[in-house]
């Protein structure tokens, strides 16, 4: 196993910058998820690490070797593809053996390793089958096996679960996580599903528009999103973002709405908002940090319920506030009707303030 370092990695296609000065370090044995919406550059980044496309500038280090100009075969990596890319004309056994044959291992050793990998992944009875005779989950497992059999320095995975149905996806998610724990493997995992990243990765790199937005543990990304994009991308339902204005009077900073109400702030939040006095400030709040009241309470903001979505465990209420839609989760035994007058109380400890112009999180001075 080895660590991976990306230094100012750039990939351009003509004038289009697919990957823009991305720098990050994946530690030895770490599971890192590259996550972002489609077209954000995450798969391009993975292909750059694999060497399947040439880099425009920057450096890629695997282990202690700069691999910028090395062929994929010389980078000591293994990759699992979204469509599995199993060789259709070869049996499962030959699929697993192929990477070893390419490395000219003796036949007996190949046989031993293939059978060992098949045993680990519980597919010994499938060895003679062709890929088209396997279910999606089994194909997925063969793809993992082909990566595993070679004992590479780094595993690269390109949306390996997105072709599976929902139930199997959850099951394979825990299998891959287990696989990582057992092997202490270095894994770079690309996904567009923030839930996969949050549940599986040690650290997640959130990308958008070719730029690395934030690189931190899922808990940190969730609790302290660096900017509005990360805030709205990570977490489901998405964080509500309410455009307001910071105003300071008599040394007291509040957030004013165009609708006429204003929201008092805790000391810490006031210090953050002060840095943007007179400018637009966006208030971010996750559904679980907003309290819904059916009558006026000091500090709560009046709003109107818009839609109500019971899901069984919790009921999601959407309310219109200052032109934005706000998600609130409430206990299912609180009955709210659309168009009903409600009051919303924000948790000062867990609210987020963003600069309305730069979209970056505001820090206390």
């Amino acid at each position: 196993m080895a660590h991976v370092v990306l230094k100012d990695l750039v990939k351009t296609y003509g004038s289009f910058k697919a990957v823009n000065e991305v720098s990050l370090t994946v530690n030895d044995g770490e599971f890192v998820a590259l996550v972002g919406p489609s077209g954000c550059g995450k798969t391009t980044t993975l292909n750059l690490i694999a060497g399947l496309i040439p880099i425009t500038s920057g450096d890629i280090v695997i282990g202690d070797q700069v691999v910028n100009d090395l062929d994929p075969k010389d980078r000591d990596i293994a990759m699992v593809f979204q469509n599995y890319a199993l060789y259709p004309q070869k049996s499962v056994y030959m699929n697993l053996a192929f990477p070893l044959q390419m490395r000219r291992l003796p036949k007996a050793e190949i046989d031993k390793k293939v059978r060992e990998a098949a045993r680990v992944l519980d597919m010994t009875q499938l060895l003679e089958r062709k890929p088209r005779e396997l279910s999606g989950g089994q194909q997925q497992r063969v793809a993992l096996g082909r990566a595993l059999v070679r004992d590479p320095a780094v595993f690269l995975m390109d949306e390996p679960l997105s072709n599976l149905d929902a139930k199997l996806r959850v099951q394979m998610r825990s299998e891959i996580k287990r696989f990582h724990q057992d092997l202490k493997a270095t894994i770079v995992y690309v996904t567009h599903d923030q839930l996969e990243a949050v549940t599986m990765a040690d650290r997640m790199a959130v990308m958008n528009g070719g730029y690395l937005q934030q690189y931190d543990s899922p808990a940190q990304v969730f609790a302290h999103p660096a900017n509005m994009f990360v805030a709205s991308f990570v977490g489901s339902p998405a964080m509500s973002l309410i455009p307001l204005e910071a105003s300071t009077a008599n040394g007291d900073t509040v957030l004013k709405s165009a609708e006429g109400w204003s929201l008092g702030l805790s000391q810490l939040n006031a210090r953050k908002a002060q840095r943007a006095t007179g400018r637009k400030v966006v208030l971010g709040a996750r559904h679980s940090t907003i309290k819904l009241h059916k009558s006026a309470v000091p500090g709560a903001i009046p709003a109107k319920a818009y839609t109500v979505e019971p899901t069984g465990d919790v009921t999601f209420v959407q309310a219109l506030l200052s032109g934005a839609i706000v998600n609130i989760s409430v206990s299912p035994n609180i009955a709210v009707k659309p168009d009903e007058q409600i009051w919303l109380e924000f948790d000062q400890e867990r609210m987020h303030l963003f600069d309305g112009e730069t979209e970056m999180a505001l820090e206390a001075a």
Binding site: P72, A78, M79, A85, R150
Partner: protein
């Protein structure tokens, strides 16, 4: 109530009849097509086992009174001059067709792969110029190509035919194969390259085997085209010992009185390699032509 049931039943019967009408129309059409293609071949076969005299009789003998394989014996006997010529023409045709086929596959496979996988300056332009030749009937190029062949000293060589057949066969071969490569996911090669193969190895070990049906179809197409071609062979070659079968048969048998059983026997033997090739490999051919029509 009963009226409604009756009407609907009558409606069903009516519908069934219409479908059957189409089906029967189709069957009749197919039978007609079968007769249209099979009868001349049957007549060719029957005539080839008649004696020279029986072949000229009118009304014709539908089945020869005294079937004989004499024509075949004559053609396949290297001792007499007819047999010598026929076997030489057969060999010439085989040689030219095989050379055309092998070269066409050797050129078409990498060309199609390049068109499918790489972007390079002039890619689209080149791809359509490849097809440009097919916009004109082949005869148009007869005189220019003859002049060209004379200029480079290839007249009266088999090389001139191989070159010509390649220019006619390659465009479709490249198109056909490109469709094949387009349908092979690029991730397979990427996986192979990560698994330790070079780009070339990935092509040879993974992509080539998957495109076998396309390669076989291309080969059949080139072979049949070259095997049957007449007008260029007739124009470019004048020496008797160089002639290919289509030209040789015609020349050889119409010089004096036409030996129809001999002509038919030669024609039959000429069609054998094509029919055998096609029967053995037809499933690849059909697969190649329909591949890509439906997304998998």
């Amino acid at each position: 109530m009963s009226t409604i049931a009756e009407t609907s039943r009558r409606g069903q019967a009516h519908r069934r009849m219409r479908i059957d009408g189409w089906r029967w129309g189709g069957r009749i059409f197919l039978v007609f097509m079968l007769l249209y293609t099979a009868l001349p071949m049957a007549w060719m076969l029957i005539t080839s086992i008649k004696s020279g005299f029986a072949a000229m009789q009118f009304p014709p003998q539908w089945w020869p009174d005294q079937p004989t394989l004499a024509s075949y014996q004559k053609l396949l006997d290297p001792q007499n001059s007819v047999g010598q010529d026929f076997l030489r023409f057969f060999w010439n045709s085989l040689y030219v067709s095989a050379a055309t086929t092998v070269l066409s596959v050797i050129v078409a496979v990498p060309a199609a792969y390049a068109f499918s996988r790489f972007t390079f300056p002039g890619r689209n332009f080149l791809f359509f110029t490849v097809l440009l030749r097919n916009m004109f009937p082949a005869v148009i190029f007869l005189v220019p190509l003859f002049i060209l062949m004379r200029a480079i000293g290839l007249v009266n060589t088999h090389g001139s035919l191989v070159l010509t057949y390649l220019t006619f066969g390659l465009p479709l071969a490249i198109w056909l194969l490109k469709g094949f490569y387009d349908n092979i996911p690029v991730q397979l090669e990427q996986a192979a390259r990560i698994d330790g193969a070079t780009r070339f190895q990935a092509f040879i070990l993974i992509v080539m085997p998957l495109s076998t049906p396309g390669i076989i179809a291309t080969a059949i197409y080139s072979f049949i085209g070259a095997w049957n071609e007449y007008i260029y062979a007739y124009t470019f070659l004048s020496k008797n010992e160089q002639l290919t079968l289509p030209v040789g048969i015609q020349r050889f048998f119409s010089e004096n009185t036409t030996d129809f059983p001999g002509l038919m026997a030669a024609s039959f033997m000429m069609s054998v390699p094509v029919v055998v090739l096609f029967l053995v490999l037809q499933r690849y051919f059909v697969r190649a032509l329909t591949e890509g029509a439906v997304k998998h």
